[in-house]
C-alpha cells in the first residue's frame, strides 16, 4: 500500500483526532465502505419496481455477513494493535474487583457475552428495521389483515375510509427513507465505536 497521501493529515488536524495516520486510514476505509454499502442497499428497497429492486439489507444473511466482517475486522485491528494480550486485558479488566474476576469468574463470562452480542445486535437491528417497514407497507397496501379486511370491505365504512391505507402507505414510505439513512448512520457509528474501542491504548 505504501505511505498514505499527505492529504489525510487535513481531517486529522481538523477534527483533532489523536490517531496515527495508518489507524486513521484503516478506520476511514472500513467505516466509509460500510456506511455507503448499507446506505445504498437500504435505499434500493424504496424504488418501486417489483422484481428488480429489493433492499439487500432486508435479508438476514446480508446483514449477518456484514456484522461478521465488522467483528473480524475489529478483532484483527485489536490483535494487531495490542498483540494477543488484548484478550486478558478485556476479559479481566483492571477496575473490576478481584474476587469477581478469579474466585467466581463472572466478569469474563459477562465480557465474553458482550463481545459476541455486538455483531448479533448489529445484524438484527439492521435486518429488523428494514423488514419491518416493508412488511407494514405490504400489509397496508394488500389488505392482508384477515377479518379486518372483510369488515371494512362490506359497507359504508369502506367507502369513507378507503383512502386511509394508501395515505398510510405513503407516510410509511417517507418514514422508510428516514429509517434507511438513520440505520446506515447507526451501523457506521457503531462500527467506528467498536474500532475505536479496540484501538485505544490502555483500559
Amino acid at each position: 500500500m505504501g505511505e498514505p497521501h499527505v492529504i489525510v493529515h487535513i481531517p486529522l488536524q481538523l477534527f483533532g483526532l489523536n490517531l496515527s495516520v495508518t489507524n486513521f486510514v484503516v478506520m476511514l476505509w472500513v467505516v466509509a465502505t460500510v456506511f455507503f454499502f448499507v446506505l445504498f442497499n437500504n435505499l434500493l428497497g424504496l424504488v418501486p419496481i417489483p422484481g428488480y429492486f429489493h433492499a439487500g439489507t432486508s435479508n438476514l444473511n446480508v446483514t449477518a455477513t456484514l456484522a461478521v466482517i465488522v467483528f473480524l475486522i475489529v478483532q484483527g485491528v485489536a490483535i494487531k494493535t495490542h498483540g494477543l494480550k488484548y484478550y486478558p486485558g478485556v476479559l479481566f479488566p483492571k477496575g473490576a474487583p478481584f474476587w469477581l474476576k478469579f474466585i467466581i469468574p463472572l466478569m469474563p463470562v459477562v465480557e465474553l457475552i458482550g463481545i459476541f452480542a455486538r455483531p448479533f445486535s448489529l445484524a438484527i437491528r439492521l435486518f429488523a428495521n428494514m423488514t419491518a417497514g416493508h412488511q407494514i407497507i405490504i400489509v397496508l397496501l394488500t389488505g392482508d389483515l384477515i377479518g379486518v379486511t372483510w369488515m371494512l370491505h362490506h359497507g359504508i365504512v369502506w367507502k369513507i375510509i378507503s383512502p386511509a391505507p394508501l395515505v398510510g402507505a405513503i407516510v410509511m414510505d417517507a418514514f422508510e427513507i428516514f429509517v434507511a439513512f438513520i440505520q446506515a448512520f447507526i451501523f457506521a457509528l457503531l462500527t467506528a465505536l467498536y474500532l475505536g474501542e479496540a484501538l485505544e491504548e490502555s483500559h
Binding site: S121, I124, R125, F127, A128, N129, T131, A132, I182, Q183, F185, I186, L189
Partner: protein
Amino acid sequence: MDTNTVAQAAQIISTAALAKLGAGLAIGLGTLGSGVGIGVIFGKSIESAARQPEALPLVQRLMFTGFALVEAQALYALLITFILLAAK
C-alpha cells in the same frame, strides 16, 4: 388452576395456535419498554434544547443515535414475532 386442566388444554390446542398467541404477546409486551425509552429520549432532548438552544446540533445528533438504538429493542421483539408466526 390444577395441572390436569392445563394438560388437557395443552393437548387440544395446537402448537401453531399457541405460537400465534405467543407472537401476539411478544410484540405487544416488547414495544412497552421501547415506547417508554423513546419518550424519555425525545423529552429530555427537547427539554435540554429549550434550556440551551446553542446545544441543539449536539443534542440532535445524540437524539437520533439514541432513538435508533432504542427502536432496535422493539424490533428484536418483532423478529421473535416473525419467527413465531412461521411455526407450524
